[in-house]
């Protein structure tokens, strides 16, 4: 049975395959319960948010390169629309505004881009297709998980405006109390901070609905023959991520509520007594500010893996397909993801080495943190092993996947410096940290996502994205990215602290301004390059080359469905006979892939073994 049936291919705007019920426009494109549409909605939303977050970052970068200079373009526009008062005279960034810029940059990027693009966009789109289900287990819940994003976005937006545009949240994405608990502590610590916390909670609700759905779907709705160890690594990663999310998120939600009640109802969890903030009355109470840090990082460390594991899974699938080779060490790949997730729960304290917590805890967190580098290393070796002996053709997808591996190596290695507690005493809260997490979150995760967008785009819209534009986008982004973030390691070594509106008032940093200007120029290149992606995306929806069911000659179940799949996904119900990585199998002649659904004639029975031994 070859699943390649061009006759079944549908035109770009996929007519409903089943044809026996018409769906209204609203139900189909807006309040859709179809996992594919929800995935695409998530994807479009996160891409827009990527631009928003990116613009905020450019504001930060501008200030660091040319402190207190009037922002080009922005200041003129501000002038035109009556000059919002957050920008001081002459369109320059005030120090208050600077703290708001980096706070909202990180909040948008983490909560509205990275987390929803992985689980929300790709998780939704891929899970049912890759395991051979017709939809998610709870389609209505799935729809709600998308529509809870919008109140969150609105809350974040309101947090920018409730106090008349001069007081967005400004306590960093980590939002440490006491700064975030006392209204007088900073211009943005009033209602803005309350709205921010509400937004955070809503993002959490959205993610939680997603993860319940993913777990249930993956456990219950796999196609016949899809045993756990025949699942693509993408599915494993989504599954593990959903579990991480489900166990870690309640802690953040609880912490968020605690802070909310502390701010609005006068409860007391985080603020100790006797503080005099901003010449106000002394505080009363017996709270403990470190409690927030523990609760926050108990979620947010696992969350950094929530922001990475799905990309790891997707890159594994794309890479195997692109080099026409089985994944190297499938089971070690699964186990190392599980190990990362497990260890991820006991390393949160590495964000708190200098926080004043018990030094004995510092030692245990240091050892567990070192240990979490191990499964990360195993994964890197296995990706290199996967390419080893493969056939490499450099298209956009391959390029982004290789970049993922290369950038992840850097991010993992810089983690080792910081995991070493004494060295972290020096590096904590310097640009070394900023370099580290951009290498893992942008360098790894986002390059992985760029690859995934190009790879699964034909399944989403039935057309291919332009490879030439894709490669150009990759090249510019890669150069811009490394130019932006690699020098930040050096800034960190030079003791350049993060979150400084004007570092150059400190004599030991004066000479670092040219380097910051270089960084900002690279960041602008990188930012501008993203329009290539957006443009390619939009144009290709309408004019891209038509893709058949299986444009990449890949093995997974999703490639047996029409492109785009109709309602209910599969016209031929899939039955699974093997794992997804049987590329270049000697069992078939004349082609180098062997789909999961293909039943081979019994040639000594060898063909239908689950080919997943390590």
């Amino acid at each position: 049975m070859s699943a390649l049936n061009p006759a079944a291919d549908l035109s770009a705007h996929g007519h409903d395959d089943h044809g026996h019920h018409e769906i209204s426009f609203v139900k189909k494109y807006i309040f859709s319960t179809d996992h594919k549409m929800i995935g695409i909605q998530f994807l479009l939303t996160t891409l827009i948010m990527l631009l928003v977050g990116g613009s905020l970052a450019l504001g930060v970068r501008f200030q660091l390169a040319w402190p207190w200079r009037a922002m080009p373009v922005v200041s003129q526009v501000a002038e035109l629309v009556g000059g919002p008062n957050f920008i001081a005279e002459g369109g320059q960034i005030s120090p208050e505004f600077y703290t708001m810029l980096f706070t909202m940059h990180a909040s948008v990027m983490i909560f509205l881009v990275i987390i929803p693009i992985l689980a929300g966009a790709f998780g939704n789109f891929l899970i049912p297709l890759m395991i051979g289900a017709d939809d998610m287990a709870f389609p209505a819940l799935n729809m709600m998980s998308y529509w809870f994003m919008w109140p969150a976005i609105i809350c974040f937006g309101l947090s920018f405006t409730v106090e008349g545009l001069n007081a967005a949240p400004a306590q960093g994405w980590t939002s440490y109390p006491v700064l975030s608990a006392i209204r007088d502590s900073a211009p943005g610590a009033g209602d803005a901070q309350t709205w921010w916390l509400l937004g955070l909670t809503l993002v959490g609700v959205s993610s939680m609905m997603g993860s319940v759905n993913y777990m249930t779907t993956i456990i219950n709705m796999r196609a016949p023959g899809m045993t756990l160890f025949r699942m693509p690594l993408t599915i494993w990663s989504m599954f593990i991520t959903a579990i991480l999310q489900a166990f870690a998120l309640p802690v953040l939600t609880a912490a968020g509520f605690m802070l909310l009640t502390e701010r609005t109802l006068g409860f007391n969890f985080f603020v100790p007594g006797g503080l005099v903030v901003n010449d106000g009355d002394p505080t009363v109470g017996g709270g403990q500010p470190l409690l927030w840090q523990h609760l926050f990082w108990f979620y947010s460390h696992p969350a950094v893996y929530i922001m990475l594991l799905p990309a790891m899974g997707m890159v594994s699938d794309m890479l195997a397909c692109k080099v026409r080779k089985p994944i190297f060490g499938y089971k070690p790949m699964v186990y190392s993801m599980a190990a990362i997730a497990g260890l991820g729960f006991i390393v949160w304290g590495h964000h708190m080495f200098t926080s004043g917590m018990n030094p004995a805890l510092g030692m245990t967190f240091m050892i567990s943190t070192m240990m979490i580098a191990l499964p990360s290393a195993v994964k890197v070796f296995n990706w290199i092993g996967t390419i080893w002996g493969g056939k490499v053709v450099f298209d956009t997808v391959t390029l982004n996947c290789v970049a993922f591996v290369s950038m992840f190596i850097v991010g993992g290695l810089s983690g080792i410096f910081m995991a070493a507690v004494p060295v972290d005493i020096y590096f904590h809260d310097t640009y070394f940290i900023v370099a580290h997490f951009h290498y893992v979150l942008f360098g790894a995760t986002l390059f992985g996502c760029f690859g995934a967008i190009h790879f699964w785009f034909p399944k989403m819209f039935g057309r291919l994205m332009s490879d030439r534009v894709g490669r150009l986008h990759f090249t510019l982004t890669f150069i811009g990215f490394n130019g932006t973030f690699f020098p930040m390691h050096l800034l960190g070594i030079a003791g350049f602290p993060r979150r400084y509106a004007d570092p150059y008032i400190h004599p030991y940093m004066e000479h670092l301004m040219p380097m910051n200007q270089f960084i900002t120029i690279c960041a602008v290149i990188m930012g501008v390059a993203q329009f290539l992606l957006i443009g390619n995306f939009i144009v290709s929806i309408f004019t891209g080359k038509k893709a058949g069911r299986n444009p990449w000659n890949a093995n997974g179940l999703e490639w047996t469905a029409p492109s785009p799949p109709g309602h209910g996904n599969f016209d031929i119900l899939p039955v699974v006979y093997r794992g997804p990585y049987e590329y270049s199998s000697p069992l078939v002649d004349g082609r180098d892939f062997l789909m999961q659904t293909e039943l081979l004639p019994p040639a000594g029975d060898a063909g239908n073994e689950p080919a997943v031994d390590s």
Binding site: Y330, T354, G356, M363, G389, F394, P422, Y426, R499
Partner: protein, 276 residues
Amino acid sequence: MVNKFWPLFFMFWPILAIVSFVIAPSMDWWFPGPAMSKFGEQIDNLFYLILVIVAVTFVGTHVALGYVLWRGVDNRDTKAWFSHGSHNLEVLWSIAPAGILMFISLYQLDVWMQFRVKSHFPEGTTPIAEVTARQFEWRIRYAAPGKKLMTTPQPDDLYTVNDLHVPFGRPVSIRLRTMDVQHSFFVPELRVKQDAVPGTVIPVWFDTMRPGEYDLTCAELCGWGHYKMRGRVVAEKESGFQQYLLTLQAEQNFDGVTRPEHSGAQIAEYGIEDSQ
């Protein structure tokens, strides 16, 4: 050769990365000077040890990556190598990094204990001042010359702002507190950093090897003026330090009319040495 463009591309950037690290010290993109404290030297040594390990791994993995890509583009006609992996390799590349990581973790424990575990503080560490962070300045309280620093403020205590004087050449400690939100006491040249946590007093010790002025900055976001919490740590000779305290006292007690008398004899009498 054209088809080797991308493998070269992926091998080229690591070379740039390494070059940038090699030239960094001479371009002054490096530590703000060598560590000015014995404790800081230990941190630097650890840093360089890890740097070597990391650099070797970075080069190794990228050579491997470059190699497999390079070979991969040549692989045009034949099928790819049909292999699901190698158990032996998995074992090898799990155990080897595990050993190295374990080594790093255990090797550095001692430095950490010295820094934070009170019973491991160096002999003779003297509390010299109380540093209270506040939006956006460092308030400093010394005991009067010859007196012991008490946990509660005394009537004859001496106060300054953003200017911490310490005797050099021996470990001293400060009592770090904050009046309002979190801050972090960061002296890059001495490689010390410690958050100031509301509701807690944290003892922080450091030493200075040479007399001099070291920048003091804040490393924990504390509000819009975070960047401008600039102070300095002045390390000077024991006698200079005593003199400083006396001057401070004289200034503080100066009622605008009569100067309280002070003589050199008093300095000798009140050695801060025994204020432990």
